[in-house]
Amino acid sequence: MAAGWIVNAARKVPVHQVGLGVGALALAVSGLFGGLTTVRDQVPTVTASAATDGGPWRVTVIRARLFNDLPPLSLQKAGDRWLVVVATVEVTAAESRGDMTDILRVPAVPGLLTKEPSYVVLARDSTNVEYLNPGMPEKIGFFWEQAAGSPAPTEVDVRVYGKTQRLDALTGHLNWLDLAVRGQVHLTVDDQRNK
């Protein structure tokens, strides 16, 4: 009897009102279980000198420094400064990798000319890193140019990014994809500009 009444009532209600009702109900249920809570950026914090597994690489962020001009690296604008983050990177994938500019970001630092580092330099001999080989950890400097008019950072949150190995939906090949944050390291910036 009750079922028949519900069916009859449902037939009289316009479809769009049914849709709205179902949507409102889903929203209410979702809200009960925390669906309306503001999503916070949940990046795992890593202590400096602790390694972060980034998929094809393992990264240990060591320190951050500020420099004025550092020849032979060339600033795009005279008077700008370099923010340098030094990290040890080991390629754990099976093949040499040439995507070192993907590894670190410093998104909260104002006035950077580029999101990705302008230079990635081998600490061993100051050569640009084209490829890093598997099983050969190296200390690397990541250089960002900061505009002269922006406040020089005294502290910095360095984000370590990683990739996941999966089949590429476009090509069908197994590849390292999906660049995503794997950890964040808080560092005090060592200002070397007047030393």
């Binding site: 490829y131 080989n133 099983g135 050969m136 089949l167």
Partner: protein, 210 residues
């Protein structure tokens, strides 16, 4: 003459047991199709394997056909430092310099891909820490004119005695193309000699061979 509706007997009697049997049969057929399909799919090579390079192997001193050029490994040497860009570059591993002879077959070509592969299938690209023309497509090979030179690699110490040199024409895409492979003649007695070699090595520039 027409029969009254409901007076003609059905050819098949539909019973609850019959319906259940039909449903079970249908489910069984679907399951069987999924199992057979899964078995076939598991035997089909994946994209990486289907489109892999055609490896052509040869020993030291033997020319190997890479479709657009022939490559011959002539020898190998190593050390702890290498000269380049006006300075000596050290390494946490060891520098390996493979001496090779290249001849383009029918038209001008380049060697864009040069790697060493160890027995753990780790792949080491020719180093970018120094400028080298042979490995990065910077040297054009003219057909029939042999060029001899060296390619430098940086490898970890635990890999040095089990390395194979692979060469191919394209720098970016080696799928379904020929690739040469030659094991490098480095034994366990060689490595201590190379580690003791502290005088920086200088890469031999590519030159026309007699």
């Amino acid at each position: 003459m027409t029969a009254e509706p409901g007076t003609v007997r059905s050819h098949r009697r539909v019973t609850p047991a019959g319906r259940l049997a039909t449903a079970v049969l249908a489910a069984g057929l679907v399951l069987a199709a999924l199992v057979v399909g899964g078995a076939i799919t598991s035997q089909v090579p994946d994209t990486d394997r289907r489109e892999q390079s055609f490896i052509r192997s040869g020993g030291v001193g033997s020319p190997v056909d890479a479709r657009t050029f022939d490559a011959t490994v002539l020898g190998v040497r190593g050390g702890t430092k290498i000269n380049g860009g006006g300075q000596a570059h050290d390494t946490s591993g060891i520098w390996v310099l493979a001496r090779i002879r290249l001849v383009a077959r029918a038209e001008p070509t380049r060697v864009g891909y040069a790697v060493l592969v160890d027995d753990r299938a780790r792949v080491y690209r020719a180093t970018g820490r120094i400028t080298q023309l042979l490995a990065t497509g910077g040297r054009i090979l003219e057909p029939g004119i042999p060029v001899v030179g060296e390619i430098a690699f940086e490898v970890p110490l635990d890999a040095v005695t089990r390395l194979r040199l692979r060469l191919a024409g394209s720098q970016l895409d080696q799928r379904m193309d020929a690739m040469t492979e030659c094991p490098l003649p480095v034994d366990s007695a060689t490595l201590p000699r190379w580690k003791a070699q502290t005088t920086p090595l200088t890469l031999a520039a590519p030159e026309i061979a007699p």
